[in-house]
Subunit: 357 residues, 2 copies
């Protein structure tokens, strides 16, 4: 069936796959809903925004994305409350960030009205895929990529902007053990670390594999010059609680301006917790671990929300963290999820209603 | 027609597009030959190596290459001499380098025997696309990319290894003006700069656009820590001739181990020219330009072979270079092309015969 509302054409599936999905056994990011959004950039403008059945693309092997990694993405989630209403969390931030990422990667910015209309239409169509219940959500993956044919290293003239939806459970199960980077690095000053550029992630796979072989799930990256200061983990920003002060690295052109990160800072400040946004030296972290003042480490990110870190490795030593009765990680995770799932007030106006059953 | 020799299956086109091609008006890397090579990695091994008609791929929008830039490539060329014999230039180096790049990007290495057999079969089939005449060549683009479906940031379990062939003329026409990076950077210590990882190239498009707006074609990157030392340009290594000494940056995990670069060093050493492989400070370059000891700058790379630089920009000043009667750039370019096109002896054993008419 082909219908058109406003500017986005909609082609619905004839048979939904929803009934076939085992929502209790989802692998993160590998199941997709019935529909996706696709829009093409050509001749200097975005054309033909369309919602179509989720399915494969037909794309040239010479498309620039394969050769030059000219691609950016975002990660968002939709949450359903007990009344069947579906909410996003601060989607304006994701919209602004993908365009910031695009600019750094020489990709044309995407129009605000099409972005939000696409989300509304897509979520309305596939709202049955958003499961209620805390921990369940629909992961939303907007991305843009270079599709022009050409194996010469210059910006593409053609792009696709796509939004995929994937039902998920929580990203991490259990606590996370991290290792502090001493050899490899994630990004350079003047580089693309602050952008959600595709290549930033692939570049971390090898060092992360080495970390996994030693029993750590993630790497906490340090500055590439000296490996002296703590920056971020590959899929999350990182917070350190020393005594009762919460410390996290300032954003820069190396560090992603995380939406969960800035939300945690707002929640902490509202609670009267001292938040110190500054560079934390690895040596200071080790000292704090040794003298007992290091209370918690946790990661923040859309996929993981809040991930408590149970141990960190450095210089072949492992530093275990004790569980805290008044854990900030637990408190902020609860507060964030209460807002996301419409179980509490929304003092900052972060909830964004988008569809309902 | 489906035939199989050794392990690589071959499906030929029914009608060649060769007669339609205007070889005098080629845009670099945008015309492709009749056939391509494709091989899939799945369940821990490379399977089904095949030569098939060049054409689009059918690929999931959730394939990891689009989201995480897990992809690497190589650039090689085939040259035809006046007798119709087709040669590659040091292909063993490209083979070793793509596997080195793959390792850094957590991509499984590709088998040597399939790589070379694929090149032999593909070049034999499409040898009519290699035009004789100095400057004409067939650009060869092997690449590997992550094809597993999944929007979670972890290495793919599935990959495609593809080889495309593209008839080309010389990459640059005329001299190149470069600007020295003072704000943006290309790679970090401990990063993926030494790998031909897709994302390294897309990351340079924006700063290169800024340079183009100021009249420069390329950026010469400097160290990301202090922007104090000269490293490489985005698609070529860079050589500086001060008096009669040839200076180029040492390879590192930030700088690509260029095959043309190492060939130039060999040619220079054979000619008794002093070659100084060391970090050259920007300040030293500016001093040399001011006192007249800077004779030449040139880039080296497979696409461009040797690109003489006619001017460099730094601190909003432009330093023009005078043409040299005894230009090293001209000499090395001639010597390299004489070897590549089988017009001279091959003292280093760089020529690799692969097909003939």
């Amino acid at each position: 069936m082909n219908t058109s509302t406003a500017n986005i054409s909609v082609t619905k599936v004839t048979n939904s796959r929803l009934a076939e999905v085992d929502f209790d056994n989802l692998t993160f990011g590998s199941t997709f809903t019935d529909h996706m959004f696709v829009c093409d950039f050509k001749d200097g403008a975005w054309h033909n925004p369309a919602i179509v059945p989720y399915g494969p693309l037909t794309i040239s092997p010479a498309a620039k994305v394969f050769h030059y990694g000219q691609a950016v993405f975002e990660g968002m989630k939709a949450y359903k409350d007990d009344n069947g209403e579906v909410f996003l969390f601060r989607p304006e931030q994701n919209f602004e960030r993908i365009n910031k990422s695009s600019k750094r990667m020489a990709i044309p910015e995407f129009p605000r009205d099409i972005f939000f209309e696409a989300l509304h239409k897509l979520l309305d169509l596939d709202k049955g895929w958003v499961q209620s219940g805390v921990g369940n959500s629909l992961y939303i993956r907007p991305f843009a990529m270079a599709t022009q044919v050409g194996v010469s290293a210059s910006p593409s003239d053609e792009y696709k902007f796509i939004i995929l939806l994937s039902p998920v459970k929580a990203y991490y199960t259990g606590d996370v053990r991290v290792t502090i980077a001493q050899k490899y690095s994630r990004s350079a000053d003047g580089g693309v670390g602050a952008a959600k550029a595709a290549g930033n992630y692939g570049a971390q796979f090898y060092p992360t594999n080495l970390a996994r072989e030693k029993g750590f799930q993630q790497v906490v990256w340090t500055d590439s010059n000296e490996h002296k200061y703590l920056e971020e983990a590959g899929t999350m920003n990182v917070f350190f609680r020393i005594n009762d002060t919460l410390i996290t690295a300032p954003t820069s052109d190396r560090i992603l301006d995380g939406i969960t990160r800035k939300s945690v800072i707002s929640l902490a400040e509202r609670a009267g917790i001292d938040v110190d946004v500054r560079r934390l030296a690895v040596s200071e972290l080790v000292d704090a671990a040794n003298n007992g003042s290091l209370k918690e480490i946790f990661g923040s990110g859309t996929a993981a929300v809040i991930s408590p870190v149970s141990a960190f490795g450095y210089n072949d030593k492992v530093y275990d963290l004790q569980k805290q009765d008044d854990s900030y990680a637990t408190k902020f995770k609860q507060q964030l999820m209460d807002i996301q799932y419409n179980r509490s007030e929304d003092p900052f106006g972060w909830r964004y209603p988008i569809a309902n059953d």
